[in-house]
């Protein structure tokens, strides 16, 4: 069983990320993934997180207690959830927006900046998803690539796939 959490603020597509990942796992990878979300009243800018329990069998308890992966896209999200991360857990951050103070395993990517380079900051989450797929290997690339076109508007499919690839290959660069 793998537990993970996306944290950031409203408008970054935190919950959308969870849905894409969960969909990829439960429909194309035939696993079980339960996604829970929590968000404030703000549509943009408020604290927001989605938690994900991934398992090979049916998920009974749907919440995370100790996360294996924390994907933080804001300082606030990092501060709030870093204690929840397991000792050997992995931290994935947007390196422009989060300044970590921890000795845990860290992978950083300037996802917002990459998204802006690609022309739309809204797809920062997809960049992050690509990067996360490469780092965590909880989901297959094929499943993600099948899911993304179903989850975004028609006219943005190519852009999103490109964003995903940029994220996925970021480590190699």
């Amino acid at each position: 069983m793998t537990e993970m959490r996306f944290a950031g603020f409203g408008g970054q597509g935190i919950i959308r990320s969870g849905i894409i990942l969960g969909r990829a796992i439960s429909i194309y990878d035939h696993g079980f993934a339960t996604m829970n979300q929590s968000f404030g009243p703000e549509a943009r800018g408020g604290a927001c997180s989605s938690q994900m329990v991934i398992s090979d069998t049916k998920v009974l308890y749907p919440y995370v207690s100790r996360t294996d992966f924390l994907i933080a896209m804001s300082q606030e999200g990092y501060d709030k959830f870093i204690d929840e991360l397991k000792e050997d857990g992995t931290l994935i951050i947007d390196s422009d927006l989060v300044k970590p103070k921890t000795d845990k395993k860290i992978f950083g990517i300037p996802s917002t900046r990459i998204a802006e380079e690609l022309g739309n900051r809204i797809i920062a989450n997809v960049v992050m998803l690509g990067f996360m797929t490469a780092v965590t290997k909880v989901v297959s690339v094929e499943a993600m690539k099948k899911t993304i076109p179903e989850s975004v508007p028609q006219r943005f499919i190519e852009l999103n796939i490109e964003a995903f690839d940029r994220g996925y290959h970021y480590r190699a660069e």
């Binding site: 829970n36 404030g40 308890y61």
Partner: protein, 426 residues
């Protein structure tokens, strides 16, 4: 009757409980939704609105919740399966007209995605504190059926079940999901229409001239007709007799005489009897390891999934715990609880409120077993450790409690630096 294939969006989805409930309602043949946006139920209304034009259903966003519930009642009398979707504050506004629906014996479904209260509370997070309100919220006496799903898949299934029960018994059926289930996203499999059993409306089959609106069948439920079919209906929210005529003619009688007339003629007793007498058919629950259980966790909705972890841990530690999950919260399984109370040490009732169903459990146990409430104010769910702690407390305390014991949760301890009650009482 099988569902209409046009209404069923067969496939495998990764959707949240709100959307699943909307798909379930559509599959059950719901053709009218009068709604008003309120967090966290909006996703359901939105999903319905997206699909409605494809299946000949109508979505209307009314000006407020009072309007939406009233329009649902009207639509149901026009012969369409109808529902509304709301959450706490909207639910409160609907109360008067839920009473009207019950009094007119209109089949309809209310999807209530519960949030933290009271008042506006925390709109974006969970609660289970409307459970008592669903039964007692409107003035006068009536009975309802309430269902509590625990996952998006159940959200879909129970939405169909809710419509079936509503049509079967001509009562308001409350679909009491909580925000957690509503916003939890999981795999939902929507089967083929041929696998979905749908209860058709109990239309009156006899001669038009002989129709009497509230003449009951064997099971105390009267058949229904559509408005505008020439039955010359007179339907009122006033206390009425079998013909639907209000019992106002006896105004001139002295009070006591009048009361006697009303007592004899009114159909009010059937509003409660048709559920109370048929409750064995309605009640559904899920039982787990009750055979050898010393302690039983009674839960419903999302709490049952949380409690499951405590259940597993307790079993690992060798405590004989059983699970009783209420699928229909109302009517309440009085007899089953009473039966269990005779053989177990106690009940642990975790709820995301400060005690509602726990009092029902306590009542039904007739002092034979102890009852512990694990309260939670909302905005989140229990910590499984608290539930485990309550289980251990029952095992350890070898005495009879004089009332429901409120377990002091870790959250309460951290915030009030101990038990609030004890602190003040000192």
């Amino acid at each position: 009757m099988k569902a209409n294939p046009r209404d069923v969006f067969t496939g495998t989805y990764y959707i949240d409980g709100d959307v699943a409930a909307a798909y379930g309602a559509l599959a059950a043949g719901c053709k009218f939704l009068g709604g008003y946006p309120i967090t966290p139920s909006t996703e359901a209304a939105e999903a319905f609105a997206r699909k409605a034009p494809y299946v000949g259903a109508q979505f209307i966003q009314m000006e407020d919740e009072l309007g939406s519930i009233a329009s649902v009642l009207g639509a149901s009398w026009s012969g369409k399966k109808s529902m509304t979707i709301t959450s706490g504050p909207g639910y409160s506004l609907m109360m008067e007209n839920i009473g009207l629906g019950a009094a007119m014996e209109i089949p309809f479904v209310i999807i209530n995605i519960q949030r933290s209260g009271p008042s506006t509370g925390v709109p974006t997070s969970t609660g289970q504190a409307d459970i008592m309100q669903s039964k007692w919220g409107a003035n006068g006496d009536y009975e309802v059926i309430a269902l509590a799903p625990e996952s998006p898949q159940e959200s879909f299934d129970f939405a169909i079940k809710a419509f079936n029960l509503a049509e079967r018994y001509r009562v308001p059926v409350m679909f009491m999901a909580d925000e957690c289930v509503g916003h939890m996203t999981e795999k939902v499999v929507i089967p083929d229409a041929s696998e979905i059993e749908v209860e058709p409306r109990r239309f009156y089959q006899g001669k038009k001239e002989e129709y009497i609106p509230y003449r009951r069948d064997q099971d105390l439920v009267p058949p229904i007709v559509k408005a505008g079919d020439g039955y010359h209906l007179y339907i009122t929210g006033l206390t009425h007799d079998e013909r639907g005529y209000p019992l106002l003619d006896h105004r001139s009688l002295p009070k006591i005489e009048k009361a006697k007339v009303i007592h004899k003629k009114s159909t009010n007793p059937y509003l409660v009897d048709k559920i109370r007498k048929n409750k064995d058919e309605i009640i559904e629950m899920q039982e787990d390891h009750l055979e050898d259980a010393e302690v039983v966790i009674v839960s419903y909705g999302i709490t049952s999934r949380v409690a499951y972890r405590a259940f597993e841990q307790a079993r690992q530690e060798g405590i004989k715990v059983g699970m009783l999950r209420l699928i229909t919260v109302w009517p309440f399984p009085d007899d089953r609880i009473a039966e269990l109370a005779k053989k177990v040490k106690g009940f642990v009732v975790p709820e995301i409120n400060y005690g509602q169903i726990v009092f029902e459990v306590d009542r039904c146990s007739h002092g034979k077993a102890n009852t512990i409430l694990v309260p939670h104010g909302g905005a989140s769910v229990h910590k499984p450790d608290d539930i485990l702690g309550a289980i251990k407390k029952i095992v350890k305390d070898n005495k009879k409690y004089e009332q429901v014991i409120e377990y002091t949760t870790t959250l309460e301890k951290t915030i009030f630096k101990g038990s609030l009650t004890e602190k003040i009482k000192k």
